[in-house]
Symmetry: C2
């Protein structure tokens, strides 16, 4: 992967030490990003010096979000950045690549179980008007894995509520998309989407537990 | 921890081999549960034989849910079961113990950050009428950790939506509580709550990604 120097040379250009300070990242890490081709080279001002601009700062923020928050592999970060740099892809397409990177799925070995889960996913997607990608899409695979686990532990009844949870998921997604509405920089859109999704999952999981305390207290107080 | 033999002797009593089959678990694992005191001893019918009843099957299901799905430590499983067996505690109280077991939190070292996050949590809890437990409650600590992480990665703006996400969390919790409405066995209530919460988090996280695909496609199609 080769990257062109960032075109935004109208911005204040700084040396490596200042870039490190601006980005809040050690020089060694920035040099690592440069070596791996994740970060475009600076503009060379002498054989041993280069200058960097705001484009570098923003790119570093995106790389950190993808790697440190999203847990993306170096290879997947490369794919996302290549799509960003290609400049032709729609945000929807690049978001899709980033989303695959932050999704972990479990391979279901049992053919019958996989077929049942896939049919369940297809039915749900149709009812909710969700785009239904190929069977080997990582998000589809992840959903198939979770459905099979729920059935395996003997709690298939839980899936009666699948549509109710999916409706809630739609509300969350609308709230997520609000966060990137109006933002023009594709790099920033991707960064925000990854942070929102990964940290947002953790946030929602904890908020849910506090809300459960409220619901459980109310419910069992009624009982007693 | 010592456990009395299960009182439901009106149920069909079976030998270890049949218990293993009924519970879908290897004999060695059941013997391990017995040795650790998680499972009450069967009724001895000869020096080398004992019989087990439906209470044992249900208890094994609960232990598996706590350990395998919930990832609870042996010590925490012991605490939950002791509370179940004490018979005095309300379901709300026992659910609270189980909930602490399935919650992982991150210790925030920075005093200023922790104070800010705690104040944010307190404010939110007040606005939503959520019970606000002690500062060292694991769920509170987990929320403090997530809030600090979001701020550290430079996305504090995301917390403007905290109340909107909390409202959604309340809807999820109500849906969760529906799942245990009307169930009388405390063991089953705990089992369902743990499965619903742990696998439900994973389910919702994947559903959210599918819903995001729908939202992103619609949003960026409008744009173009």
């Amino acid at each position: 992967m080769t990257l062109e120097p960032s075109p935004r040379s109208e911005n204040a250009r700084v040396r490596m030490a200042e870039l490190s300070e601006k980005a809040g990242l050690p020089v060694a890490t920035i040099k690592y990003y440069l070596r791996e081709g994740l970060l475009p080279p600076g503009e060379r001002t002498s054989p041993n010096q280069a200058k960097y601009d705001d484009g570098h700062v923003q790119r570093i923020k995106l790389i950190r979000a993808l790697m440190e928050v999203g847990g993306l592999s170096l290879a997947t970060v490369g794919e996302v950045l290549a799509a960003v740099d290609a400049g032709e892809a729609s945000p929807h397409h690049v978001l899709g690549i980033a989303q695959q990177g932050i999704t972990t799925s479990r391979q279901v070995a049992d053919d019958e179980a996989r077929a049942w889960a896939l049919a369940t996913v297809r039915g749900l997607a149709e009812r909710r008007g969700w785009p239904c990608k190929a069977d080997d899409d990582l998000v589809i695979q992840a959903l198939v894995g979770v459905l099979c686990t729920i059935r395996e532990v003997g709690h298939g009844w839980y899936l009666d509520k699948l549509d109710a949870y999916a409706e809630i998921a739609d509300r969350i997604a609308d709230l997520d998309l609000e966060g990137i509405a109006g933002i023009e920089s594709l790099e920033q859109i991707i960064e925000i989407a990854v942070v929102e999704t990964v940290l947002g999952d953790r946030l929602l999981s904890v908020l849910r537990r506090l809300a459960q305390q409220r619901a459980s207290k109310a419910y069992f107080a009624q009982e007693g």
